[in-house]
Each structure stands twice: as structure tokens, then as C-alpha cells.
Symmetry: D2
Subunit: 371 residues, 4 copies
């Protein structure tokens, strides 16, 4: 009997832990089940172009701890609505049948898809077309409703926390206000957890619109207590009450004015106008450092559990499902149920309230502090 053949692909933005999933999935499939594996390169694009590499014990040696993805990835490649050039013109069309054909041609028995909401939506759609699909959730923002934790989030929080720790010593010495922009377009989990762990004074999230007045009032309240510096953490997607997000506006198409900076630069500029006399205001943009480097041990173990469990699901032929963690237990959930439900920060949730009780401002109300 021929060996079973498993294909793997990673879609969307990268998150530390992708390689750890590939590592455990590959080793478990080969050593425990005797399967053969291939990895499509650059996400669904590789599936469309039939561009793949064999995944062997050798090819996954030493990747457990590494950020990125050895299979690379690409954003926004939806084969059900794919940009192709026809007669010199770019048109969008459904090329999913090419992918299905490629899988058949290579004799692929099951396809493991690592990705976020968009990537998993396609995974569900391929499942509906009869492909044996296993999904593995990936979002550095930890904003998937169907699972308690996604890998990459712990690593990102570590990097944000470390940066805030470094800023404390320098901010303190110079009576500075430092505005730190972190990832999170719609969900503010990274800013919230990083801000709590890193002792931020003000945390601005997409889910809790702020006013500049409240931000300034908090800084002044700190001044009045002799705390002459302030650390502000801001999600890239944070916005003012009644305002719009500045994310994705880094480059506006209008020829001039050109607004180059993101939210950290915007807030720094506005604070400069208001309190620039008393404080030195400085932006920090952590950007892609948050996605990179070594995967944290927590994320490695979470990913290893996902990768291992995905192999078992293949063996048990439980296709059309996504692996997930709920209440600490590894398990699975139908792909049909996981799409489109984003887990946002609850403005009155437990962690937000832990922060509020510590005196952290979310910019949505004035600080009233006893003592």
C-alpha cells in the first residue's frame, strides 16, 4: 500500500510558532504514522502554482524555535477570488479548481492549513469541495473566538513587555512621555497584555476609543503626584472617540500633504502641542520586531501540541476540523463554526478591570484617584 501523502501550507502574516507546528506535524506524521509530506510554498499561491518542497526529518531539523515559516507565506491570496492576468488585463476569478487538480495530481490525501480567519475561510471552502482539510489557527493577535490561545501572541507580548521595561529607566530619568505603537488593528490584546505586564500608564485600544483630553489629564495627574514620566502603549488600530484609525494611512495617496507616521507619531505630535513645554515626547514603533526572532517556550509548546494533534486528526480521518485549545484541553472544532467570529477585548472584562484597578487609564474617562 502506498504511503499517505500530506500537504501543508501557511497563509497570511507570519506568527512565531508556525515552524514549531510544521516541525511536530512532520516528525509525528513520519515517525509515528509513516506518512509522506510536502509543503506548498507561499501559502495558497504555491497550491495554485503547484510549487512545493518535500518535508522530511532533515528539512525540519532545528526549526522548532525559529520565527517565520520555512514554507513562506503570502497575504491575501484567495484562490476563490484570485488576481490573474488574462489578455494583459488583471481580472479576479475563482481558480480553486486548479488547486484541487494539483492536489489530485500529487496524490495528496490531506491538506493541513495554518492560518488566520481569511486563510481558514478558504480552508473551509476547500473542505466543502471535498478536500480533506485540517485547520490550525494562527493569529498573533489572539483574536480567534474558537480557541483560547493562538501561538505567536505570547512571543509578541514578551517583546512588547521587554521594550516597555527598557523605556521605564530612560523615561524616568528625563521626565519623558513615550508613545509605543504595537500590533493590533482590530483587537487590542497585545497592547492590553503587554501594557499590563510592562506597567504602562495609559493603554489605548481599538475597542476602547479614547479622547486626547483624557490622555493629557492622566499625564497631568501623574505629574501632580511627582511621577514625571508616562508610558503610553497604543495599538496600531486605536482611535479617538468619533475618529478613524490611522493604520493603513501611513501613506496617503493625496500627493501632498503626506502623512507618513502612524498612530504613535500622530499622538506624539498632538501631545507635543499640548504639553511639549513640560515633557519630552517620543514615539517608538515596534513594528515587525513583534513577529520575529525566537518563538517563546510557551508558544513552542502550544504549537507542538497543535502540530501533534493535527497529525492524530489526520490518522483518525477527522477532516473539516480545526485544532484548538479550550480550557487547557487540546481538541477540535468544525471549520464551519470558526469563521468570522473575532474575539475582541471587552471594555468591561476582567483584564481591563485589573488594569483600571491599578490606576491604568484607557483614555476613555478621566482619572479619579483617591489618596
Amino acid at each position: 500500500m502506498a504511503k499517505k501523502k500530506i500537504a501543508v501550507l501557511t497563509g497570511g502574516g507570519d506568527a512565531p510558532g508556525l515552524n514549531a507546528v510544521i516541525y511536530t506535524l512532520t516528525k509525528t506524521c513520519i515517525l509515528k504514522y509513516g506518512y509522506e509530506l510536502i509543503g506548498y510554498k507561499m501559502g495558497y499561491r504555491g497550491l495554485y502554482l503547484n510549487d512545493f518542497m518535500p518535508l522530511t526529518l532533515e528539512s525540519v531539523t532545528g526549526i522548532l524555535h525559529k520565527g517565520g515559516s520555512i514554507l513562506f507565506s503570502s497575504n491575501k491570496d484567495n484562490l476563490f477570488d484570485y488576481k490573474v492576468i488574462e489578455n494583459g488585463v488583471a481580472v479576479r476569478k475563482d481558480v480553486s479548481s486548479v488547486a484541487v487538480e494539483n492536489l489530485k495530481k500529487e496524490g495528496v490525501d490531506a491538506l493541513v492549513v495554518l492560518g488566520g480567519d481569511g486563510t481558514l475561510t478558504s480552508a473551509r471552502d476547500f473542505s466543502r469541495l471535498g478536500i480533506n482539510v485540517i485547520g490550525v489557527p494562527k493569529t498573533i493577535d489572539n483574536d480567534l473566538m474558537a480557541t483560547d490561545r493562538t501561538f505567536g501572541f505570547d512571543t509578541a507580548v514578551n517583546i512588547v513587555t521587554e521594550a516597555l521595561g527598557r523605556l521605564h529607566t530612560t523615561a524616568e530619568s528625563h521626565h519623558r512621555v513615550i508613545v509605543v505603537e504595537v500590533m493590533g488593528r482590530n483587537a487590542g490584546w497585545i497592547a492590553l497584555y503587554g501594557g499590563l505586564a510592562g506597567s504602562a500608564d495609559i493603554i489605548l485600544l481599538p475597542e476602547i476609543p479614547y479622547t486626547l483630553d483624557n490622555v493629557v489629564q492622566k499625564i497631568k495627574e501623574r505629574d501632580s503626584r511627582g511621577k514625571l514620566f508616562t508610558i503610553i502603549v497604543v495599538s496600531e488600530g486605536a482611535r479617538e472617540v468619533g475618529g478613524q484609525q490611522t493604520v493603513n494611512k501611513i501613506v496617503e495617496d493625496s500627493p501632498d500633504p503626506v502623512r507618513l507616521g502612524g498612530i504613535a507619531h500622530k499622538i506624539s505630535y498632538e501631545l507635543e502641542q499640548r504639553i511639549g513645554e513640560e515633557h519630552e515626547i517620543r514615539p517608538v514603533v515596534l513594528g515587525h520586531t513583534q513577529r520575529g526572532g525566537e518563538t517563546s517556550p510557551y508558544d513552542r509548546i502550544l504549537s507542538a501540541r497543535y502540530g501533534s494533534y493535527a497529525a492524530h486528526l489526520i490518522h483518525e480521518e477527522k477532516f473539516g476540523n480545526m485544532v484548538r485549545i479550550k480550557g487547557g484541553e487540546i481538541g477540535y472544532v468544525p471549520l464551519e463554526e470558526v469563521i468570522g467570529s473575532q474575539k475582541l477585548v471587552d471594555p468591561e472584562g476582567e483584564i481591563v478591570n485589573v488594569c483600571r484597578d491599578l490606576g491604568v487609564s484607557f483614555g476613555d474617562r478621566p482619572v479619579t484617584r483617591k489618596k
Copy 2:
């Protein structure tokens, strides 16, 4: 009306996160509830000697991220069976009434006790004596049955993982076998999680007795595949099939021979006899570096949730309980139910099997590897 007065103490070995609990408990009690706080020094000893310090917003400034405990701690001080000197002779007696008296004298309304199984047993006993007690679980070994996670564990796993990462490059270059001793006298969670995250080849735990033959066989199996180095992680409490633990035997009282080393040195010596010709064998003892330094962001957030919730429990007068995390949800459980049940590694549990499927040996059986 007088302010409520809350007392806090930390007992047993230290774990990163103690200060984060003290920080959030203190700030939440003062800022949200307007309580007054004191901290007894050196655990129950301070309660007996009535040795305490005020806990204020100032005294907890900047401690959120720090390992250790600003209240210090002491091992093995059980006031219900306490060593005192009477007439020049050391005797053991129940001095709990002195503690109760001190709490009354100071007007303490509630006592928050941070500790492991031993410390919490006394907490329960004080609760039985009518003291308003709230427990907070603390064990770096993550071996309390009543809660999913204890703070300090993530930090310790990080440090072990980092050490294993460093050892890989050097072991590889020189065909070395390196034996890394980590914490864990009865429960091997740190070795298991650290070993998985750090890609150890062999993991030896208290719960899974090993044989040296199996260890040697795994090393040779690696040699045969051209993997000329091996990383072994061993809990300090690991033991051979039919053997005894060497932990706490570091210093034997017999005048000579003196067996100075722990399990890492013992195994290194034994491997030297067996495969010293082909391999350089080297012990590493991480010791108390695993308890120290900065608390990991994960542990800071866990601790912050504990500290905050303990304050709420006091406010709601839900005494006689311990805070805990179950399935990701913060909550509480009666102290009466938490004592004496240790959570050990299941030799057939999920994480152990994730490791086995990756080819990791636990020394309990020979490796049979396809391919």
C-alpha cells in the same frame, strides 16, 4: 469607620510572581477599596514575631516585574509545630495562638497567604481557628491539583529553554553529551516543558524512572544517525528504576566518601564510564537561576489576576478560599479542598506523548525508530 486592615505574607521557596501578586493586591486594596495593608516578613515567622512593614503605594512601586519577595520568606516554618527554645532546649510546640493574638492586636481583618502546599495547610488551619484567610497558590513546579497554572513556572521553563538553546550550538560542534539538572523534586513539569521547548533528546523525570541502559541506547541510536551530540534534561528528583533520588543527598554526612554532586554529576559520571571514549560528557546545574531574575510577562499577568481577585474576595468576604485558574477562568476554591493533592506528570499524558512522538526518550524504554 476605621479602614479595613489586610495582612499579607509569603511562605516557602520563592517563585517569580510573588511581588506581582503583592503589587496588584496592594494597589487594588488601596485604590479601589481604601484598605490599609501590612506585610509580615519572613512568612509565618514574622506573624509569630509580629514583625511586619506597612505596604503602601510607595513600597510596591516598581516591583511588578521583580523575582523574589519584598516580604522575604522562610521555608518550613509551621507555627502549629514550631521550634522554640525553652529552658535552653529546642522543643516543638503549637504557637498558633501567638499568631492569632498578634493579628487581633494589630486589628487585622483578613490575612492573605501566598504559598505552596505546606504554607496553605497552615492557612487552612488558621482559617479553622476563625481567621479570615485568603490563599494564593505558589509553586514553581506547577504541581497543585487545584489550579491549572501557578506563577513562576513559565519563568522557570523560559530559563531552562534558553539554557538548552545555548547548549545546542556548543554540543553540536563537539560531539558532546550534556546533562542539565533542573528543578523538580517530585513533579517533572519543568523538565518536561523545558525539555520539549528546548528540544532535549532525553528527558528524565521523577514520575518516569529510567534505566541507564535506555539512556545509553538512545545516545547510540543518535550516533548511528550521525547526530553525534545529545542533550539530556533531568529533574533533580529523577531516579533510576528501583533506585533512589539523589536530591538532598548532595552532602552525605558520612565523613568519607563524600558524594558532592547531584543527579547531573551522577549521570555524567556513569555515562563517562560507558561512553567516555566517544563523547565528552558535561554536567550543567541551573539551580536557583531558575527562580530568579525578571518574572516572565505570562507570570506577571497570572499573578496580577491572582492579586486583583484576592482583593475582590476580601471585599466580598469570601474567606477560607484560595484563588485559582481553571480553564482560563479566574475563580476560587475552598482551602479545605486544595491541600495534599499533588499534580504529577502522567507518563501516558498528552505532553509526554507529544515528546515521544517526536523521538524524545524518557529512559524508560528502548528507542525503536523507523526510517
Copy 3:
């Protein structure tokens, strides 16, 4: 006989190592020489306001490794040209005599000044006024001609290098171009050393004006070899051939347009226009994370040597000098000789050529690569 009294102050921007100098200076002065110490707060401003604190063994406990300065600092406070309010109007005048008076009043025998070029210029001027001054060089940019190394530089290079390491994994996975802005307004040492250690592909320095064409050409040359990502490190003070620095232009006063971003956002925008179709372009602004956190061991030892040696110079009454390292040897140089000579990166120097030989582009010429 009265104890000698030594005063210390830290001026200008902070650099990791200031506290280590204060630590060793204080301990050596007290334990070895039996002096008494005070620290003026907020640099020269404290000297003017006679605002100081005692420096004791207790007050320096545990500060050796910490960034920032326990004495705080302030930029641009020149007492020889100081902004004061007279009759409601801000005027600039020489208030150095007030400082001299304060030193006399407190019975200060010697003044130790930690600072960069501006701060040391004032130190020299106070020396000319007859004050017993010892200077300690401080510039995170390592751009003082009179000493081989200044503390803070190694720490900053470490932080830049770590960030670049993290960016490599993520850049690689997604065919990204990432533009990392680091400190360095006039001198590009941090970008140069960090860029070399962190394997940057392009390094843009104030000393070597670049053209965007050369930057784009290097990215395309990498593309042509299948290296589909590029890491660019850019000093905040880098500038195009014939162009101006954008540093300090973060906020232009013209009401609109407002150019919020710095050089990283500017270059990202311009690359977006040129190669935005093929590459995802992302800015990172490390900002004050480079100044903060823990001082590196290298910088701690350098600072300890400075602090210790400054104490010896006081004992030997060798005033009017600055401590320095030359050729690995600790020594001193007259303050009169150290002012105003900045050590810039030599565009044809050894380290630049090490980089060029590795294929790094400085944006000043097209890449011509054999092979």
C-alpha cells in the same frame, strides 16, 4: 579634620552606565577614601537650584546594572547661558556664579560631571572658574574623539542587533523590506556596528549620504539572487546626497501639511512608491528602547573603571581632567583638550570596509557584485 565632600551630577541625554559610574564612584570614595558625597539632581539645573541628595552606600545599592540615572538629568541646561524669568520675561544670562556660590556654601571640594560634549564644555568652564572638576565622558553615540569608548554604546548596539535578528525571520518569510531607524544624529556608529552585527543589507549613515536609486538598486540586486527580503538600518540623522536631515523635523510647525514620521517613515514611503508592488515595506522606530533597560556587562565594566578612576583622580587632586580609555588603558586627559572634537565614521575606515566587502550597501554607490 572634616571629611572631603564630593558632588556629582549627570547632564544631557541618559546613557546606560551612568548609574554604574555613580555606584563605583560612591562606593570607592566612601569605602576607600572616606569621603562624603552628594548628588545634584537634574544636572546643572540642580546645581543652580542647590537641589541635591546625599549619595550613600544605601542609596547606590542595586543600581550598578540599571539604565537611566538616579540623579536624573536634563538636556540643554547651560548655566553660562541660562533661561531665567525676569520681570515676567524669559531672558538668557550667565548664572554660573550662583552655582559656584552653592558649591562653596555646601563645602564641596570637588565636582564630578558625567556628560557629553555640551555638559563637559560647562565642566571645563567651571574648572576655569576655579572649581575642582573631574569629567566623565558620556555619549551613547561613542563619538567623543578623546576616548576610545563611551558607556551606553555597547548596550545600544546590543538592542539594535537583537531587533535586527528578530526582523530577519519575519522579513524572510514575507519578502519584506524593513527600514529600522536607530539613534545617531551626526555620528552613525550605532547603525554601523548594529548593522554589521545584525547582518543588515543596507546601512545609511549621516556621514555617507545615500541616493534612493542606490538603495532600490541594492534591493533589486538581492531580488535577482533570490534574496527576496532586505533589512535597512538607518541612523536618525542619515540624509540623501544633497538632502537634509529629517531628524527634529518630526513635527513641522506649518499647520498643514504635517510630516509626522522620521527618516524610517520617509524612506518607507518613498520605497513604497518605487517597489511597493513587489515588496511589503515596513518601518520600525527603536527610539528610546536603545537607551534603556539593563546596562550591558561590557558597559558596566567600562563605567566601573571610569567611576573608580575618577575617585582616584580626586584623591590625587588631578582636577580639570576627564577620565578616558585609550588603547585599553584607563587614564585621563585635560578637559581643555576634549571639547568640540567629534569622532565620526570614516567612509573609508576599517569597519565600513569590512561591511562593504561583505556586500553591504551604504547607498552611496551602485552594487557591483561578482558571481
Copy 4:
């Protein structure tokens, strides 16, 4: 005309930076000079067995920051006195002619040897045999007289310092004495620099024999000032006045007693006898974690300079020399002059005195502390 062919090998224990030298040497030789490169595996053993691999731009991609050596290494392989099996019997003989023959056969024009004193002695001997040799100094202990700094040392000091930082918080909480064993058999530089940067209270070096009495006296002196914990850093080769080193005695051949531990366990045992009632004594053995992981930025730059300069020396045909740093300047020195002169810690040198002035004990004299 044929391309020049350069061979490289790494000998002796590994040190972080070896790969960085290989990286820059290879890239510079290929990109700047158009040479061809091969790397002998496992040091001189590979030269004897003619076991080599091509060194190309591809094979050195991504190794700049990695510890270890991609060429592997082996200790104690001296081809001038090599263990071979003849007629079933192990004999030692000079096999250097085989190596010379191999170099000729492969058409090697120059041989670059990275190693410490032993490896470089052989390099000199091959040079005497007419081989075009360039040496690159390597010793993690920084104990070569001919160069100011060797790579690997900064990385090792970082790791020791980090460990000491972690130990401070935990030692403090529990009134512990922690004994940390670090590398250094003959030269105590790592203990000295790491101890200073990490605020050790006692530093024990091979160059300064200690007495246990002085160690105990220092601990008690700290106790008397309320500093109830003590951190001791000890070189593996430290020894008591009149005593012997315990390094390499980890495994004594006498069947029983077996003395398993090294110097940290020995001292811990002895302190336990003396002050075990008042203090918890704990050993830590950092072992090979000090050699491993990521090379520090400082060491990467030093190594890059070495590797680059070695390429230039080949181009200029300045053979028989070793690259080195003196007074911050890269340069070279004849191999004939560098052998056999070890740079030891001067018990009255500057850094030792910086420590003494801070109150650090070296165990060689009682502490007499004012105040």
C-alpha cells in the same frame, strides 16, 4: 589562471565567534578576491583524513550570529604527535606529512587556522614546514598575551552576568549563599569580569588562592550589616591556598569514594559544615551554557574584523602571522611570537582593585571594612 584556494579549520574548544570569522573570511575571499574556499572538518583531524567541505556564499548564509562552528572541532588533535592504531596497537607519531600531502593534493594555497595556544602551536609548526598559514586567535578565556581580546569572552561574560542577576533576587529573598562555578581553568578573567558586572560579593580565581576562613568571614561580615545573602563566583580552576584544583577531578577513578562534583559543590559542602545552620547554601554550575547560543554583538564585530583581516593578509601574502587586536587597532604578529605566553589575572591589577575598592572579597585576605 586558476583561482587561489584557501583552506580553513577550527581547533580546540568552541567559542562564540568562530562562525562569524568563517562567515566574513569566506565572503571577503569570494566577493573581494575571487578565491575558492574549503573547510576541513573536525580541526586537524579533518586535515589528516582529508575530510573537507566547500565553503561557499550559500554554506555561510545565516551563520554570523551562531555559536559553535559549522566546521566542528576536536580537542587535543596534534598531528605532530597523533594517536594512530598500528598493528592493533595505539601509538603516537608525527603524521604532519600526511596533512602537508593533503594540502598539496587539493591545491591549497593558504591555510587559515582558528584556535587557541595548542592549535596555534601546530599552525606555527606547519608554517615552519612551508605551509602558508594565517592564525586567528580563539580562547573563550581571553588569556592570550598576543592580543587584547579574543572572541567568545564577551559572550561568556554576558551569560555569567545574566545568571548572577537572576540569582540576586532569589538569594535576597531567602538568605541564601549561592556558589556559581564558571569557566576558567588557569585564567580567571570570566569570573572576574562576570563577577564585577554581576555584583558578586566574593570572586575566587585560579590566580588568587583563597582560604575558606576568609570566605566565611566575608559572609559573616555581610550578615553583620544585614546583607543576609552572598553570591560567590568561582572559576572552575580556583584553589585554596596550598590546595589543588578540583577541575578534571569530577570523576576520580578510584572505584569508591567517588567525588562527583566540581569546585562549586566542594565549596558548598564545606560552607554547609560551617554556616549551614544560618544559611541555605546552593551550587550552580553554568558549564557549557557559557560557550553557546548567540554570539554577542561585540564578539561578532571582533570576529568579523578578524575574518576580514585574515583575507587581506592572504591577499598580501603575509603568511606565518596571526591576526590580533592591540589598542583597538587590527593588525598581525608572527606566529613564532605568540605561543606559550598566557595572560593571567594580575592579583594587583586594575580590575581586581576596582573590585576590592567596591568591597568584593577574593578570599585571600580578611575584609576590613570601615563604616
